[in-house]
Each structure stands twice: as structure tokens, then as C-alpha cells.
Subunit: 352 residues, 2 copies
Amino acid sequence: MIIALDAMGGDAAPDEVVRGAYLALERSSARILLIGDEEKIHRCLSVGPHPPALDILHAPHAVGMGEIGPLALRKKKPSSLSVAIQQLAQGSVDAVVSAGNSAAIVATATHTLGLLQGVKRPALAAAVPSLHGHVLLADAGAHTQSNSLHLAQTLCLTLSYLRRRFGAEHPRVGLLNVGRESTKGPKVIRDAAALLTQASVPFEGFVEPHEIFSGEVDAVVCDGFLGNALLKLLEGVGEALRVSRTAAVGGKHGSWASRLAGAELSAAPLLGLGKPVLVAHGRSRAKEVANAVLAAEKLVESAVLQMMAEDTELIERLAALRSQDALWRLGRWSRRWRKTLSKAETDKGGGP
Amino acid sequence: MIIALDAMGGDAAPDEVVRGAYLALERSSARILLIGDEEKIHRCLSVGPHPPALDILHAPHAVGMGEIGPLALRKKKPSSLSVAIQQLAQGSVDAVVSAGNSAAIVATATHTLGLLQGVKRPALAAAVPSLHGHVLLADAGAHTQSNSLHLAQTLCLTLSYLRRRFGAEHPRVGLLNVGRESTKGPKVIRDAAALLTQASVPFEGFVEPHEIFSGEVDAVVCDGFLGNALLKLLEGVGEALRVSRTAAVGGKHGSWASRLAGAELSAAPLLGLGKPVLVAHGRSRAKEVANAVLAAEKLVESAVLQMMAEDTELIERLAALRSQDALWRLGRWSRRWRKTLSKAETDKGGGP
């Protein structure tokens, strides 16, 4: 198994990425292909003897953290990221891990690898510590804005992921909203709930953000802007717990705060692709990069993303329902217009 | 001073509201006017001797927690909430406190009391424990969707509130976004930043959610959906800290976690109105209701909301800039259309 690692992605690249590769190789049986500026990588490699399972592929250009995702795609010079994804598309590597610009990763992966049948967009699924383990948050930042079909499809992808990855028979997934009542929240979320109900998708209805940690649901679905904001707020909570030196004392779940405070910024897989692409946090240090590589290894071993390709029936049904709905709306409007027009004709007295 | 208290608003109304009134009167010199179903209030009043500073106004109807705000307004039967706001508009009371349906409170207050000069919408300003005190979050849920002008105006209202309420000479207020780079986040937030820069409003640019607690800013501004979601997530963090029995041990800011865990759900004032209306959390118990009444008393004493009426210059300038921008866009389009039309005329060979 070969994991491609984008050496130029992340705030501390390439130093921390190279150190992360070293760390990962200590615990992993996979080969790692470091993709990036060869000279810079070699300078970092002096930190230790060259491990035999480490290869390097030269790709000197990097995508900046502030670049706009789809624009990064159109560049003529291939970046370390685009080379990595290309390698994955060709089957030369089994997974890609990058801590770089997430918008660029999403755009490049979507464009180069394509999406599962019927899927409109991929979604990032990030794990957040809950009182009894973890809860998934999707979309954690792949796209900043979503329509109701995107939200509904992300929910189906999450259901499929929970089933295939953790063997959960009846995963409980809810739509994140600011109230449980059907009148609450933005229209797009209410429409997504209606679409899911119409397609008979087994979901838990609306879930409020304060219910995330209690373990009532296995995952919550929201648009990528909200997901990313919530994730970053939790990061801030973890930092504040560290700064205020809060320790967990006693209690059955005494370790929640310490888990949150010590939470390594875990890598999130992109759901909706047929091949594993993991987005690590931009601020990842060597330890987090290593964890991301190990997570990629597990994902490849379990062949989850490939198996998810068999679960696209619901996803296609959602898209069909949405199209039907759009057609029905169009039909209603055209009937109205026709009526108005014929009335105007009659009022004119028939004929010019 | 008379504080009107909506006895029928909140999940535990009227019991906890009446008990809250009792608690507040122990610590306050204001009179309290309980507005709601007289019979139900009297049933709760048996909890103790009738305090001399407590009055009751009969208004039997209540707004349900699931009702849509603007629809609640159109009801023929006056609710406890609409009677309370009416009393405030007439000047019979000095402030209104309600733990009821926040959308209904916002709609009724906006409609009955009107807004400050140039303000398009009111915003809820909620206080969140930071490492060094508190940080304000606005809008915390008055409206679920916002355009760039709403966001920019909320920022100005927050600046004015911080100046008038806490005497901060140079309050630091940022726009909440998922990145500091100007390319990050939804267009509406980037447009709001551009508008604020154009109007020379002193603001801190984009602030990320993980930076809220560090004390770098005094307030963050976002749309009401995100604000409400973040607030509820923090509530969930507080609950999880309580459940996992995490105690703060040592450290200079050792009390942050305990402050968050013990955070009474504080009431938020509606900024943008000329008179004090405070929205208490729907799940408020007696203690929180009492705190909301005391907060209302302080707000009345300091005459903050009245003084904010003098700070509307920036707010009006923002609206003017936005209109200019809209006019300019319209102009550009009409010039384009005219050009296309005259070209079509010329192509036809001039004349039919």
C-alpha cells in the first residue's frame, strides 16, 4: 500500500509533514510517497536516516492557503496537490493525505477523481469527541454554501459511511438546526428535511448543537460553513481548556474535557469520492500528519470508500425527487402564465 | 422603575417566571409587572406572600415556542408578549423581559417600537465567557438569514453598545468567518467586510471561531443562525463539562471551564431598538429569569439603548453606501442593455 503525502500542504510544510512521515513509518507498514519540492524535502530529511519505505516525487509548486479552490485547479504548473491526486487517479497510490488548502483539495479531487453515481458534491466528515466516544460532523468545510439536495445527499453519504466504516446497522444521523420544531431555521434546512422524509431516508430529524455531545446521534449534518465554524469553536474551547489548565477529576466520563483539550486535529475523509482523500488540519504538526497517514491506511484497508459506491440508490433517488419537484414548480408557473396570457387575450377582445 | 415580565414565555412558564420575579424582587428596587393569565399566575403566587412591588396584568393568550414570529404578530387576540411590548411603547413600563419565542419577541418589538434611525433590523447581543471576562456574540438569533448590510449594521450597533454600556473607547469587534484571508467564507461576509471598510468603520476584520475566547476581540458579529448555533454548541460544552464532572484546578484562569459549565443562560438585549427588550433563554429557570430582570434594570439605569440613538451616523452611512452600490450596478446594467438594444437596432438597418 502506498500513501501519497502532500509535502507542501499546511502551515508548517514541508518540515512538519516530513517529520510526520517519519513518525508514521514507525507505526505503519505502508509506503509513503512524499510529493513536493525535492530540494526542500531533502533539507528536512536530514533529521534522520532515510527510511526505506519513503519515496519522493518532485513537484515544486504549492497551492497557497489563501488561494481560491477552483482557481488553483486552472493553473498550468502542476502543484504537489494536483500531482498527488493524479497519482491516485492513475492507481499509482492508494490514498492521498494533504494538510493544504482544503478548498483546493476538494476542487482538485472532485475534478480529477470524479464523484460517486448521483452525488453532487463531496463532504468532509470530521470526528468530534462526544461523552461516549465520537460524533461525526459533516460537511466540516468542503463547501461554504449548500442547497437542500446537497444537505440531504451529505446525510445519505454519512449514513453509508457509518454503516460501512463502523458496521453500525442503524446509524442515527440528524440535520443540525437551531430548533427541533419544523418551523425553525433557514428554509434550506427545512427543505432538506422535507426531501429526506419524501425519499424515506432514515434520519433523526433536527438536532440542536447542544445535543451533539450527549451521544443521542452518531453524526450531524450541516453546510460546510457552519460545520467548519463549529469545529473551529470546539478547537477554541480545547485551547481555552488547555490555557486555563483545566483537568478532568473523577466522574465516569471524566476524560471528555481532557480529550477535547488534547484533541489532536484529526484528518477528515472526503465522502462522495470513490478513492480515499484525507484532509488534515492546516495547522497540523508532525504528530497529526502521522495520524492522518495512519487513518488513510485504515481507510484503504477497510475499502470503505469503494463500498460506499454500492449505497448510492438513496442518493440518486434524492436527486430524482428534487428534479421532479423543480419540474412540478416549473409546470405550475407555466400554467399560471398561460392562464394570465389567455385572460389578457380575451380582455383585448380576441385578435389584434 | 417598572420592568414588565412576560409570565407566559419560556419552557417552564409561568411557574419559573413567577418564582424568578420573587427572586428578583429580593435583590432589586424596581417594580415588576407580571403579564399573563391572571389565574395561572395567582396559582403560582401561593409560593409565598405577595410582594408589594409585584403587579399583575391579565393577558391570557401565549405565543407558542414553535410559532413563526411574524405570524404571531398578526393574531387578533393580544398575547402576554404583545401586551408587554405595548406597555413599553406607551411608556407605562421601562423594559420588557421575555423568555418566550424569540422570533415573536423580535417581530413584535420591531413592529411596535420601531427601530433606530437607519437600522434595518435589531440584533441579539449575547455574552459568552472568555478567558478574561466576556465576549459579545451578535446576532445571537434574532434573524436566521442576513445580507451584507445587516451584518455591517449589526457590527456598528455592537460597537455603539460596547462604547455606551462598558465605556470602551476603542472596542474591538470582528466579523466571524472561517478564515482570516479575504478570499475565505461566504460572499455575504466578504461583502459586509468590503462595506465596512468603505464606510471607514473601525473593525478588526475577520475573526475565526477558535479565537473568540482568547480576549483578542470584545465582540464578534455573524448572522443569527450561526450565532445561535455557536451559542447552543457552547451550552452543550457546558453541559458536557458538568456531566463529566470536570473541575478547574489551578491556573490563573482556572475558572473558565467552571464559568462555562455553570454559565447561567444570560438574557440578551435587542440592539437597534430605542427601548430595552431583553430575550431570556427559553429554558430559563427562576434564577435566570431573576438575572434577566436585574440585567434589564441595569440597562434602564444606564440609558444605553437611548444613548445608542445618537450613534446612528455610521449605520445610515452604510445604508447609503449600499444604495449607491445598488444604483451603480443598476446603471451599469442599463448602459449594457441600451448598448445591446441600439446595436440590435443598427443591425436591423434602422427602422422597420
